[in-house]
């Protein structure tokens, strides 16, 4: 089987579809044209509001074998995916391709519908039980496909994925289909993941529990793309948005990592007027951001912009004047949802603006630095965010690839041991993000610098920071907890990990046991 540019074996085709192997982070030069969605029209006075999902499903003629799409802006509080799949099941519709931006633990009941053949294909991130179920093999008619935020936008835009019906959970909508996530009893922040779905899907259904008089503004989703509007009792549960820790870590190990990461940023000269950075939402990232914020305040410098899943920590920086603009693609806590209404320099962006490889500019390309996580890193600085060391597919890509390939300095923060398993590997279980776009790996034991960045190594050593090799740190960790066990994989490919340009950077195989 041919190997791609990170040495992974990629079959030439899967389920009869040819695969393009990953050739390097910026090797692909896109050819061809964008997808061309159908022309539509409407006459004045035509009504769009329908009383039920079932009625909408009938009206758009949703049928066996079709692709249905969703956003994940409610994260673990999503209610719509299951409701639609259940309605399809009731209506006898089967063999669906599910194309969410991401699934969460709340979607575990989907596994039953996979078993029953209602859902036979999934393209989208799977966080938790659905991913674990898929890892078991034999469940889906084709391997799942995982894409980054930018990669998903690209796939719709260029026609790689054709959406038959887009379902868009809208915390606020008007009867003409204008919709946003800023207002309403179940506001969730931006719902801009669905913009590309609204543009390219054959049919678009907005689902809301807060139907307001025309016009709902901002119209993140615009009337011109919306076929029908359905009202439901509750469109999603904002309490499910804040998954993960979302507080600054108190673990001494993690605090040490965060501090080292912040010090590396300072040593590299990146804390300066007009900087732009991506802040993660995990405990380490938040702590590192907090260290950076304090250094910014000390120096009296202001960032031009920050991005990331937006949390109350970034809101605080905006309010304190440490940051000029928040580019907000996704709220990661309720504080961020509320704040979106208040500040004129808190702007909603789409995944296309953020990270579309097939565009003339990504916001991620303007980043000076970014803190990112991972489940594993390896000697080549490749990062795994999708599988655990046991081989289970438990996480989506999110913006990991998009940010890493854009930021001038990409910093992976990772403890060398997690759950008594060492995280530094000779080779990661799954390559999500290639080492060529990773600059620093910061652990509690020191900072590994990608040999492609001698300039950074010099900066860090000059600042007296503990520059170390991944090999050394791996050995130290293994002394404490032993070598990691390795999963045994079967032949069956259960998922494809796409690079953001549409090539395949790795495949995930069925987990058959442990070595």
């Amino acid at each position: 089987m041919p190997r791609n540019a990170v040495g992974r074996e990629i079959p030439e085709e899967v389920a009869g579809k040819p695969l393009r192997p990953f050739q390097g982070a910026f090797a692909t030069v896109p050819e061809g044209r964008k997808a061309a969605p159908p022309l539509k029209t409407i006459r004045p006075g035509e009504e769009k509001v329908l009383p039920s999902l079932e009625e909408a499903i009938r009206r758009v003629e949703l049928a066996d074998g079709m692709t249905i799409s969703f956003h994940h802006c409610f994260r673990d509080g999503d209610l719509l995916v299951l409701r639609v799949v259940e309605a399809c099941a009731r209506l006898g519709i089967k063999d669906l391709r599910l194309f969410p931006t991401a699934l969460f633990p709340c979607h575990e009941p989907l596994n039953r519908y996979i078993e029953e053949g209602i859902i036979t294909r999934i393209e989208g991130s799977m966080n938790g039980p659905v991913g674990a179920f898929v890892s078991g093999g034999g469940k889906l008619a084709e391997p799942a496909v995982l894409r980054s935020h930018g990669g998903r936008w690209r796939a719709v835009e260029c026609g790689e994925v054709h959406i038959d019906v887009a379902f868009i959970a809208a915390p606020t909508a008007d009867p003409y289909g204008n919709a946003n996530g800023m207002w309403g009893p179940n506001a969730c922040g931006p719902i801009s993941f669905s913009v590309v779905d609204s543009w390219y899907a054959d049919k678009v259904i907005v689902v809301t529990d807060n139907l307001v008089p025309y016009p709902a503004i901002p119209a993140t989703i615009e009337q011109g793309y919306v076929d029908f509007v359905v009202t439901v009792d509750q469109v999603g549960d904002p309490a499910g948005i804040a998954t993960g820790t979302l507080r600054i870590t108190r673990s001494p190990t993690q605090l040490r990592i965060a501090k080292l990461a912040a010090e590396a940023v300072v040593a590299a000269g990146l804390v300066r007027e007009g900087m732009g950075f991506q802040a993660g939402a995990g405990g380490i990232s938040l702590a590192a951001t907090d260290f950076v914020a304090k250094e910014m305040a000390r120096r009296g410098v202001k960032a031009a912009f920050v991005m990331g899943g937006v949390t109350r920590f970034l809101i605080g920086m905006l309010r304190e004047g440490l940051v000029n603009t928040i580019l907000d693609g996704q709220a990661f806590d309720v504080g961020a949802v509320e704040a979106l209404r208040e500040h004129p320099r808190h702007a909603i962006i789409t995944p296309g603006f953020y990270a579309d490889y097939n565009s003339r500019g990504c916001a991620t390309y303007m980043l000076d630095f970014a803190f990112l996580g991972g489940t594993e890193v390896d000697y080549n600085f490749n990062v795994n965010v999708n599988t655990h060391s046991d081989g289970q597919l438990l996480h989506g890509i999110g913006g990991h690839q998009d940010v890493a390939s854009g930021a001038k300095v990409t910093i992976i923060t990772i403890p060398t041991i997690r759950g008594r398993i060492p995280t530094i590997r000779e080779e990661v279980t799954t390559v999500t993000t290639p080492g060529e776009v990773v600059d620093l790996v910061v652990t509690e034991r020191g900072i590994a610098v990608n040999p492609r960045r001698p300039d950074l190594k010099e900066d860090l050593e000059r600042a007296g920071l503990p520059v170390r090799s991944l090999e050394e740190m791996k050995i130290e960790a293994e002394r404490l907890v032993g070598k990691a066990k390795r999963p045994m994989f079967g032949d069956e490919i259960v998922a494809l990990i796409q690079w953001r340009d549409g090539t395949v950077i790795d495949v995930v195989r069925k987990v058959a046991g442990w070595q």
Copy 2:
């Protein structure tokens, strides 16, 4: 020659291109798909800022025969069209198709470039001298094509017009191409006319005199669509935005028309909580809007939204709480530009949102009523806004067709005599908007009700308003100033007037003299 649905002779083809005759306001059912622009990419670190228009023109390989596009948001203060055409002339590029949203008197120097064959085709509105020049015949290789705001968006979107290079005057832009018209020394309000150009053009050049650090927000024009950014000394002159009177008329005749129009709206029961209306910017429309505003205040009702070229009068209504939302596609005075920055319910919209026939919703379709003008009306309630009674092509369509076809009650306000010429005709010189979408014609002599609207006639008569026939009012006017002379037309077709769906509602012929 076959006649279309308003009885105009439309040739089967012009310049080798087949024409579709107008069949009725909503007769067209669009088929096929949207245009598919080319996929593009960029690598991190790639620069877009170029030092001159000439350099940009070279970089995008602008060549003979290509189509170049512009917005008209500076109206009579536009500087970019001429600058680009001059640069093309210097570079020896000829045979260009000019595709502006609209031209104004400031563009008179273009006539020289038409004579010289630098510009051989124009598709866009021509207000004033360029239109007059084209009316003379023999100047362009093909008839000009005039479209409404919504019609132009549709034409680009469905590929009827392919833009090779879009030039976008941007009062504020960042080095990555994000751009808006809200900020900067020469802010002009929304620049959303160019959004569709940025989406579909092969190449996109943003031109600014206010290059700000990344990110410029709001990004009305988004980085992902922009190839290059050019800085110039001045991008446009906001002093040219406020063309026309832009003050409430003091003419007793016009005030009477405005008062009657407002009374008609009241009589029709349209002044009520949650109403939506379009306000024009001429002296009569402003006066009528003012009458309506006073009635709203008296009744204590609030409009859900208003649209229109936005003036300080609408801003006042927003500030006073008479209006919940302004949907702003274009600023008509500097007060409107400044106000756009202040109010969260003052929203920028695109012409697509406003009026795209090939979409699942137009804001104009949500209008309860609209005040519109015209140069002539006829017995069939057809309205001419493009030519004068002397046959000269002197005005664009603007949103006239879009609004008239959407509003539940479309009110044409027009004095029966203008410049000693009667405006009510048996047949208008040019049909811009068909009578089927016009409900009332209000003059200083009374209100004519379209026979299609017996309900309105009843409302108006019950309210004691002077309902009269167009014929009667025409005869009275002719008693004062005599019958209008009629232009003699040559055979040559100098312009096509498109209906918003892409069909041809009328043609404009060369003016050969007077009868």
